[in-house]
Subunit: 276 residues, 4 copies
C-alpha cells in the first residue's frame, strides 16, 4: 500500500527482462559511421548506390557482375504506370493533402502476397525445388515436372508466371539476358525456364515467366535469402512511387475526382430503426 503511494507520484518501470540489442547494420560513433564494416564516407560517391543496397542485403560488396545485376533488378521494379495498387494507393493518399513520404508509404503498404509478393514466394519455391533436386539427384526437367504436377494436384498456383497485361514481359527477357552475360545464371533460372515449359506442355496455356518470377530466380542464383524478396521490389518501386506522389501533388488539385466507379449497392434495402 505504501509502495503504491510512492509509485503513483514517482516513476514506474515494468520489470521485464530486456533483450540486448545486437545489430550488424551500422555502428554510430561521433563523426564516424560504419555500415557492414565500411566507413560510410568511403562508400559515398565511390561506388554506385545499388552496390550499397547489395551490401545492406547481402553483408558484403558485390563484384562488378553482381553489381550490374543488382542495378538491373532494381530498375526492373521502378514503375508500371498508374494502375497497380501501389501507384494507385500513393496517388489517392497524396490527393488527401498529406506530405510526400506519407503518400509513398501508402504505396509500399500495398506490396503484399498479390503485388510484388511473387518474388518472395517464388524464390522460396525455387530454392526448395533446387534443394530437392540435389538431395534426390534429379535433373532440372525431372524436378520441374514434379513441381508442376504437384502444384496442379493441390490446385496451387505457381507464383511468378503469367501477367495481366504482357504476354512476353520485356523486363524478363532483358533480366535473363544480363544474368547470362554476367554468368549469374544457375539452377534457379534454369528451373524457372523449365517450369514455364512444363506449364505450357501440361496446360496448353502460355504462362510466361513474369518480372517477379525472373527476379525470384535470379536472386536465388545470387544466393539471397528468399525472405528478402519483397525488399528488392520495394527498394526499386519506391523511386517510381516518389515520382507518382510528386506528380499528383504538383499537377493536380487535392481531392480531385480520380475515377468513376459504377458500383452496385448490394446491402439491405433501407429500413427504419426498431425504436423509431
Amino acid at each position: 500500500m505504501d509502495l503504491f503511494l510512492i509509485v503513483s507520484i514517482r516513476s514506474w518501470r515494468i520489470e521485464e527482462k530486456m533483450e540486448p540489442w545486437k545489430t550488424s547494420i551500422t555502428k554510430v560513433e561521433p563523426n564516424h559511421l560504419t555500415t557492414k564494416g565500411y566507413a560510410q564516407e568511403n562508400l559515398i560517391g565511390s561506388i554506385p548506390f545499388s552496390y550499397v543496397v547489395y551490401l545492406l542485403l547481402k553483408g558484403d560488396l558485390p563484384d562488378k557482375s553482381q553489381g550490374r545485376m543488382m542495378d538491373a533488378i532494381l530498375t526492373a521494379c521502378i514503375d508500371h504506370g498508374v494502375t497497380p495498387p501501389s501507384a494507385m494507393a500513393t496517388r489517392v493518399v497524396a490527393s488527401g493533402g498529406v506530405p510526400l513520404p506519407t503518400a509513398v508509404a501508402a504505396g509500399i503498404l500495398s506490396i503484399g502476397d498479390a503485388h510484388g509478393g511473387a518474388i518472395e514466394k517464388g524464390a522460396c519455391f525455387m530454392q526448395e525445388g533446387v534443394k530437392q533436386m540435389h538431395d534426390e539427384g534429379l535433373t532440372i526437367d525431372e524436378i520441374a515436372k514434379r513441381l508442376v504436377t504437384e502444384s496442379r494436384e493441390k490446385k496451387q498456383r505457381i507464383l511468378g508466371f503469367g501477367h495481366r497485361v504482357h504476354t512476353a514481359d520485356p523486363r524478363t527477357k532483358r533480366l535473363f539476358q544480363i544474368a547470362e552475360e554476367e554468368h549469374i545464371t544457375g539452377d534457379h533460372v534454369k528451373l524457372a525456364k523449365a517450369i514455364e515449359h512444363v506449364l505450357h506442355e501440361q496446360t496448353g496455356r502460355n504462362l510466361p515467366i513474369n518480372v517477379d518470377g525472373a527476379i525470384a530466380a535470379i536472386i536465388s542464383d545470387m544466393d539471397f535469402d528468399w525472405r528478402l524478396g519483397k525488399g528488392f521490389f520495394l527498394i526499386g518501386r519506391v523511386a517510381g512511387l516518389t515520382a507518382h506522389a510528386y506528380e499528383e501533388q504538383t499537377k493536380f488539385k487535392p481531392m480531385r475526382k480520380m475515377f468513376s466507379i459504377d458500383y452496385e449497392y448490394d446491402g439491405p434495402n433501407e429500413k427504419s430503426m426498431k425504436n423509431e
Copy 2:
C-alpha cells in the same frame, strides 16, 4: 420514387466531373513499357539504378557527373543506426509480426519536418536566398548575413545545421568533396558554407552543415525542385530500413522487450466513476 427503386437494384454513379489523367511517368502497352521517354528494357542493366532515380525525379538521364553525385546523395542517406525515428518505427512495427513492407513503410512515415525534413525546407530556404541575391545584386556573404540575421530576429531555426551526435558530419565533408570534383558546386553550396560561417560568427556556437543541409544545397545546385527534398532521403533510407526490418524479423523474437522506459504517470490520481 420509381427512380429510387431502380437505383437500389441497379448501379449508381455520382455525376461529378472527372478530371482526365495525365502522367509523364510511364506509358504501359502490352509487352512495352516507356518511362520518361525510355523503353524500360533499354534502361535495365544499361545504366546504374541511381541514374534511373535521377530520370524519374528530373525528367531526363544524368551525365556521369550528375549520376555520380546522385549515387553519393542516396548512399549518404542509407542509415544512422537503430535510434532515429525511422529505424525505430520499422523495428517496433516489425516486432508486431507483420510483413516486411509494412514495417519499412512505418519507418518512412516518420520522415517528417523534424526527420529528413531539413532537405526540403533547407533547399526551399537556400533557393529563395539565391534568388533574392541575384534579384538584388548581392554577394554570397551579404545574403548569408541577411538570412541569418532575419532568422535570428524571427527566432526561426535555419534548418540543415547542427547534429545531435556529430560535430563534423563525415557525410557532409564527403558530399561536398564530390560536388567539387564533379563541378556541381554552385551558389547554393557556397551560400550554405557562408551561412555556417555567419552562424558561428553571430552566435559563437559551432553549427556545422549536417548531411541534410549538404544535400539541400547540392540538389539546389543540381536544379531540383525543393518539394522533392524528402524524396531523396526516403529513397536512400528505404535500403537501410529494409535491412532493419529483415534483421529484426530474422534475429529476434516477435514482441521482444526492446527498451526500458522509466516513465512518470502525470495523469489524475485514481478516482471512482460518479455513478458508482
Copy 3:
C-alpha cells in the same frame, strides 16, 4: 585506438541527454491499468465506448449530453462509400494481399488537409474568430462578415463549407439538431451558421456547412483543442475502413481490376539512350 577496440567488441551508447517520459494516458502495473485516473476494469462495460474516447481526448468523462454528442460526431464520420481517398486507399492496398490492419492504416494515411482536414483547420479558424469577437466586443454577424471579407481578399477558402456531392449534407443538419437538443450550441456553431449566410450573401453561391464544418464548430463549443480535429474523423472513419478492408478481402480476388483509367501519357516521346 584502444578505446576503439573495446568499442568494437563491446557495446556502445551515444551519450545524448535523455528526456524523461511523462504520460497522462495510462499507468501500467501488474494486474492493474489506470487510464486518465480510472481503472480500466471500471470503464469496461460500464459506459459507452464513445465516453472513453471523450475521456482520452478531453481528460475526464463526459456528462450524458456530451456523451451523446460524441456518439453523434463519431457516427457522422463512419463512411461515405467507395470513392473517398481513405476508402479507395484501403481497398487498393487490401487488394495487394496484405493483413487487414495494413489496409486500414493506408486509408488513415489519406486523412490530410484536403480529406477530413477541414475539422482541424475549421476549428482553428472559428476558435480564433470567436476569440477576436470577444476581445473586440463584436457581434457574431460582425465577426462573420469580417472573416469572410478578409478570406476573400486573401483568396483563401474558408474550410468546412460546400461539398462535392451534397447540397444539403444530411449529417450536418442532424448534428446541429443534437447540439441544440443537448444545449451544446454556443458561439462557434452560431459563427458557422453566420459565415454560411455571409458567404451566400457575398458570393451568391450556396456553400452550405458540410459535415467537417459542423464537427469543427461543435467540438469548438465543447472546448476541444483544434489540433485534435483530424482525430475525431479518423476514430469514426476507422470503423468504415475496417468494413471496406474486410469486404475487399472476402468478396473479391486479390489484384482484381478495380477501375479503368483513360490516361494520356504526356511525357517525352520514346527516344534512344545516348550511349546506344
Copy 4:
C-alpha cells in the same frame, strides 16, 4: 505503327476485363447516405457509436446486450501504456514531425500476428474446436484436452493465453463478467476456460486467458467472422493511439531523445574497400 502514333498523342486504356463493384457498406446519393440499410441521419445521435461499429462488422444493429458487449470489447482495447509496439510506433513517428493521422497509422501497422493478432488466430482456433466438438459429439473438456495435447505435440503455442505483465488480466475478468450478465457466454467462452485449465494441468504453468483470448472467445460466441479479429482491436486501440500522438506532439519537442539503447554492433570489423 500508325496505331502507335495515335496512342502516343491520345489516350490509352489497357483492355483488361473490369470487375463490377458491389458494396454492401454505403449507398451514396445526393443528400442521402444509407449504411447497411439505415439512413446515416437516423443513426447519428440515436444510438451509441459502438452499435454502429457492430452494424458495420455484423450487418445489422445489436440488441442492448450485444451493444453493451461491443462497448466493453472496444474499451478493453484502448491502451496499455507507452511500451507496446503500437504506442511506441505512434510516438516515434509523431516525433519525426508528421501529421497526427500519419502517426496513428504507424501504430496500426504494428498490429500483427504478435500484437493483437491473438484475437484473429484465437477465434479461428476456438471456432474450429467448437465445430469439431459438435461434429464428433464431444464434451467441452474432451475437445479442450485434445486441442492442448495436439498443440503441444506440434509444439504450437495456443494464442490468447499468458501475458508479459499481468498474471490475472483485469480486463479478462471484467469482459467475462459482462458476457455472463448479458447471457452471451456460450461454447467458445467455455472452451477458452477449459483450455486454460488443461494448460495448467498439463504444463504446471499458469497461462491465464489474456484480453486477446477473452475477446476471441466472446466474439466467437457472438457469431463474428474470425477474420475480423484484428479489426476489433484496432478500432478500440486507435482511440488510445490518437491520445499518444497528441500527447507526443503537444508535450514534447520533435526528435527528442526517447530512449537509450545499449547495443552491440556485431557486424564485420571496419575494413577498406578493395579498390582503395
